[in-house]
């Protein structure tokens, strides 16, 4: 589904990703862990098409298509979804109108007839219950004045609405209380099918108890330096990144 080969990315003259390789197949869950500032969000941004980087080289193939040549919105319409580490506040745009606009465009792109107002509302309410979102939150402007946890919940609500093929969750667990973490993780699990894939970026093993990964990757110094099963996360939690530094043969 997603093939990344020898990806180099730099911003303001500084190289962040230095030859990253990653392969994700349908039905899989990949966890990416790594120290702060190592380039995890950068990877998510590059996959989704953020154009703030001065140099991007390498290859990103998604469903057989070259992602690098695809517009941001087309990547989204092709089923790529990013749950933002820092969801953006959009004053004056209600979540309802925002989702309505997004779904209409996605449907048009896919050659489907957009939902009627009534159908949309029904669907919207279903998904709201799915992430146990309060009615009040849905009527407000996108993320405006939301607490950290509410913002993350809203990301998963949008994910449920858009039902992506490839979801990238960038630290969706940070800021969530224990109950919210369970709701969010359950939501993500319920959305899993053999056809879609999930990349979970996290610092904590805790989330991976709920969303059990097939692979755990350690991103360090701009590359994936170690890949293992879910037990790697436990080991990391136990031993820290120093341990990786000592054991992985990396040049920084």
């Amino acid at each position: 589904m997603l093939e990344i080969k020898d990806l180099h990315v730099s911003i303001q003259g500084k190289e962040i990703l230095k030859g990253l390789n990653l392969s994700v197949k349908p039905g899989e869950v990949h966890a990416i862990m790594g120290p702060n500032g190592t380039g995890k969000s950068t990877l998510a941004n590059v996959i989704t098409g953020r154009d703030i980087y001065d140099n991007i080289s390498g290859e990103i193939i998604y469903k057989g298509k070259n992602l690098m040549e695809m517009a941001i919105e087309d990547r989204a319409r092709e089923g790529i979804f990013l749950s933002f580490q820092y969801p953006v506040e959009i004053p004056g745009v209600s979540i309802t109108n925002f989702m309505r606009a997004a779904m209409d465009e996605i449907y048009l792109y896919r050659g489907k007839k957009p939902m009627s107002g009534g159908e949309f509302l029904k669907y919207f309410n279903e998904k709201k219950q799915f992430v146990e979102m309060t009615a009040n939150l849905a009527n407000r402007s996108v993320n405006e004045g939301f607490s950290g946890g509410e913002k993350k919940k809203n990301e998963i609500f949008q994910m449920a609405m858009l039902n992506p093929d490839l979801a990238i969750l960038d630290e969706t667990d940070s800021g969530l209380d224990i109950d919210a973490l369970r709701i969010v993780a359950n939501g993500v699990n319920k959305l899993r099918t053999p056809e879609n894939a999930t990349i979970v970026i996290t610092h904590y093993q805790r989330l991976l108890d709920y969303i059990v990964p097939d692979f755990v990757h350690v991103l360090y110094g701009g590359k994936i330096v170690k890949t293992g099963g879910k037990e790697l996360a436990l080991e990391l939690e136990d031993k820290g990144y120093e341990w990786i530094k000592d054991h992985a043969d990396i040049q920084l």
Partner: protein, 463 residues
Amino acid sequence: MMENYQNLKQLFDGFFDQYINNETDSPLSLSIRKGAFEDFYRMGFPTNKIEKWRKTKLKDVLDLPYTINTSDRLRTQQQKSIFECEINNLDTDLFSLLNGWYEKSSENLLQGVIVCSIREAEQKYPELFSKYFDRMASDRSNGLIALNSAIYSDGYFVYVPDNVACNRTIQIVNVINATSRIFVNTRNLVIVGKNASLSLVHCDDSLSSFGSFVNNVSEFFVDEGGQLDFYKMQNKDEKATVITHNFVEQQRDTNTHANTITFNGGLIRNDTRVKLAGKGSHADVMGLYLVDREQFVDNQVKIDHAVSDCTSNQLFKGIVDENGRAIFNGHILVQQDAQRTAAYQSNNNIQLTDTASIDTHPFLEIYADDVKCSHGATVGQLDEDALFYMMQRGICERNARMLLMFSFAGQVIDHIKIPAIKNRISELVSRRLKGELSACESCELNCENPDSVMTFEIDMSKI
């Protein structure tokens, strides 16, 4: 002062002579006209040397040749079309001014409310006329106000008696439809009685594109406990100049809300001056301007807190694209006795191109000590992070920008109290932002294919 404008001088002189020989004007208005004409020749047109007119390039439009429409008998065949004009399609009691002349004879609406021509009011309601007419505009703070008092052709008069809540919205369309470039001076007077209320919609439209100069002066008096909502919509062609002076005087415990939405225009300047003359009063002065191409929109506001315990709120927002230019000057004056004043002002702008220009000047002048005042002015771009966020959800850049601009504008529209007007303006703003509403497209007269069905890429309706 008028040396440079010999053509205009001739025009005005000729027009003025007509008045002097006209028996229908009362001695009062004749003496006002005479005095004002002298004032005008003494002052001339405002020039860039005057600080408040420094950036308003009046000279460019004054250099053009104009005619004056001296008769109220001029009617065009397609007058009906005015009422089909997009902007005016509201559920209101509709009246119109055409090329500076009032269009219908007087009408006594239910509840004793009067809407008529100001000339008729002068004849029929001399007490009201002499008590209020030119009371505030006599400040003659610039030549255009004097010119208006001297040679106004016509205008509207609205009177709501004491204790009457006028339950229909009154809409007046000030339309220009001429076969040459005309200079029009319209003069309006609005009186809201004690504990009375009124919602008034004023539209500045143009149906012809020969160019025009509308010099409009309006006076609004709101008596004790009265309430006035005043919405102005401006959708003018690019050769149109509109200079508006609104004077508002509020007595005790009154409430006014003025909201000016500028969709299109050539050179537009709106100057609103509110005097809070009675305790416990509140004034909102708000506006939204959508400016592109070579358009110029200038909003000037002065709120005079003359007495204690009043509040005021100025909120202006603008989106300026291409080579558009926008100016905002907001002045809050808190006089010595105006204790416990709360006065707020904010002006936010989105500048879409490097060639667009925005000038914003807050000005606070405070002589009392127990005062809460705030002001804020911003000029920014569309939030790139928000755009990326929206596009990541599948929304194309154009629509993402649209949504952001629409929500920005919405913060002004949200203050409109009458739902029908709010929805209509909201829809028009959305169309304007999509480039679907320009002055020449907005009415049947000039539109090649009228009533083409609008398809909305985004359903803005609240669901």
